[in-house]
């Protein structure tokens, strides 16, 4: 056996190859990435950014990979600038996309100097009331052009009332093949139904692990006031009020939409003019959003009820 062949065999055993059709099984997040996401999500209600790292095969599961997310950077909020500028002109979505690409490529250029793994393997977003999916989110995700990318969501308000509301998602295979063929806003709802897709399962939740490096552990060892008892305070009705307000708004929107669809439907019978797919998809999307608000309410109540009973039991 030649030396070159031996070296090649060595190299292939050292760097395990990832099959092309592998799926993303779980993600690991470094302490720094977690804290940067939290900082940015608290600063801006629609914060978003890119997460960098490397992928390795999952030793416990065949054809599955793990994303190790070790660095991230925030993206500027270009959309808000375009919507709120005082001069009245707006920036087109294509322009925003180009600006984002330019920003991330100059950021990646700078980070390479510091031995950061310059592979974008996902994005993070601030969310409110558990609302995960929207057309903008899907657009941003597909712009990564990576089938095994991940999306990390953080709900800053929710996290103030319990454990850190951090979740990881991957995109479903069915949706990926559907979106490869058509513009996502023009996919007929029949195709969704045939592929077994709803707005619930476009993104699939996957397990997430937080990891500290040795230096981080050493630093945390000396951190003062280690236990946090603020979560023991009785449920805060302000949060409830906000979720329910948002829920009521959405239901209102939905009613309007249904009414306008009914008009369309009437016209459909008379003029054979189809309901536009976009409005139908919008209706489906809103259903999912309302549902996620409802889930938030039951989850939040799920932690509020035991607290209430604890308080009562305590006082007797």
């Amino acid at each position: 056996m030649s030396v070159a062949a031996a070296a090649a065999a060595n190299a292939s055993s050292a760097v395990p190859t990832i099959p092309n059709d592998a799926i993303l099984g779980s993600v690991t997040i470094d302490a720094l990435v977690l804290m940067r996401i939290i900082k940015h999500c608290n600063e801006s209600p629609n914060a978003t950014g890119h997460i960098l790292g490397f992928q390795t095969p999952d030793p416990t599961q065949a054809n599955t990979i793990v994303s190790n997310l070790s660095h991230c950077y925030a993206l500027p909020n270009l959309g808000a600038i375009s919507n709120n500028n005082s001069w009245g002109f707006s920036i087109s979505p294509a322009q925003i996309r180009d600006d984002k690409i330019a920003y991330s490529s100059s950021m990646l250029d700078a980070l390479v100097d510091f031995n950061v793994e310059a592979n974008v393997f996902g994005l993070y977003r601030a969310i409110q009331f558990g609302e995960v999916v929207s057309f903008e989110v899907i657009d941003d995700f597909l712009a990564l052009e990576h089938p095994t990318a991940t999306m990390i969501t953080y709900d800053p308000i929710r996290s103030q009332h319990g454990a850190a509301a951090l979740r990881a998602f991957r995109i479903s295979k069915e949706f990926l093949s559907l979106s490869a063929a058509k513009d996502i806003r023009r996919i007929p709802s029949e195709d969704y139904a045939k592929a077994g897709l709803t707005f619930d399962n476009i993104f699939e939740e996957i397990p997430l692990t937080i990891r500290n490096s040795a230096l981080v552990s050493a630093f945390l060892f000396d951190m003062p006031n280690k236990t946090n008892l603020s979560q023991l305070s009785l449920p805060d009705n302000v949060y409830f009020e906000r979720v329910i307000d948002a829920l009521a708004d959405r239901i209102n929107d939905q009613t309007h939409l249904t009414a306008s669809m009914r008009q369309y439907g009437g016209r459909y019978l008379h003029n054979k003019k189809a309901v536009t797919e976009e409005s139908r998809l919008n209706a489906l999307l809103q259903c999912t959003q309302i549902e996620s608000y409802c889930k938030q309410v039951s989850q939040f109540a799920g932690q509020a009820l035991p607290k209430l009973f604890l308080a009562k039991g305590d006082s007797q």
């Binding site: 720094l32 920003y103 454990a163 850190a164 946090n228």
Partner: protein, 290 residues
């Protein structure tokens, strides 16, 4: 200068984590890493360090340092315009003459920011682990010179600082601390549900109470001498428990409970309604049976 002494530098834990990360990613032959500190100045004069970024370490080529700093600064400023340059960090704990050039450069940068920060701060983080802990120090500088003559050098003096956690950072930091408690080589943890979190908090509270109880018992038995300060604090905590008549409490409890159950009921109802809507949609789209 008198205002300087009352200043406290408040550092976000994220900044330290960034510096540690930067240090682990240093080049093979690189001894120290440096970077820019970003932050704000509070109304009472406290300096709040809330962000930072790495810059290449090359004291011999200060121009490269400047260029890299400006590029990254413009990128970070696009995300958060409220943070500006307030100083720099290094993992070289031996502050001395080799840092004068950098300090002078950052003095110019701070002036550009247009805020009344007289001198940039220097944050040193000891990553050598020679002292069994990650020690940080904060310094600022003043000119050494006579009258109006040009400065002959810089005098670095240390500033009071603390690593502060805001309530926003707290949930994340809790996760990291829990991971560290597992005691593994690379500690890791999965985020838990709110209910488990509540359980953890209660266990922590139980521990605290046990400690206090042990202390009080020991004092009562005369095993240790009571500390009036601790005694006062315990009585302060005890008096902060609200005293409510039983019937008032019962009523408040019932009202809250009813509100909660009502909200849960309504949200369940909405969800059922939605699932009916979804089935109808499928019927329309595919022409299938219910």
């Amino acid at each position: 200068m008198s205002s300087l002494t009352s200043q406290i530098v408040k550092i976000s834990p994220m900044v330290i984590l960034s510096i540690l990360d930067h240090f682990t990613r240093r080049h093979v032959d690189q001894e120290y890493v440096i970077g820019t500190l970003l932050g704000t100045i509070a109304e009472n004069g406290d300096i709040i360090v809330s962000n930072c970024f790495a810059i290449p370490y090359n004291v011999d080529a200060i121009n490269d340092v400047e260029e890299s700093h400006r590029t990254l600064l413009s990128l970070f400023r696009k995300v958060n315009k409220l943070e500006f340059v307030i100083g720099w960090y290094t993992t070289d704990t031996d502050i001395g003459s080799s840092h004068i050039q950098l300090q002078n450069f950052f003095s110019k940068e701070c002036r550009h920011a247009g805020k009344d920060l007289q001198r940039p701060i220097v944050l040193t983080v000891d990553t050598s682990l020679k002292t069994n802990s990650i020690q940080s120090h904060v310094y600022t500088s003043s000119n050494i010179g006579v009258g109006d003559s040009p400065s002959h050098g810089l005098f670095f003096s240390s500033l009071a600082f603390e690593i502060t956690t805001t309530s926003e950072d707290r949930p994340g930091l809790d996760l990291l601390l829990q991971a560290s408690e597992t005691g593994e080589a690379t500690p890791s943890i999965e985020p838990v549900s709110d209910f488990h979190y509540l359980k953890r908090c209660l266990a922590a509270l139980d521990n605290h109470l046990a400690v206090i109880l042990d202390y009080v018992n020991a004092v009562c038995k005369g095993e240790i001498e009571g500390n009036p300060l601790i005694g006062r604090q315990i009585s302060h905590v005890l008096s902060s428990i609200p005293q409510m008549p039983a019937d008032e409490l019962e009523e408040a409890f019932n009202t809250d409970l009813q509100d909660l159950l009502m909200v849960v009921y309504l949200s369940k109802l909405t969800r059922h309604q939605l699932s009916i809507a979804r089935r109808l949609q499928n019927v329309i789209s595919l022409g299938r049976d219910l």
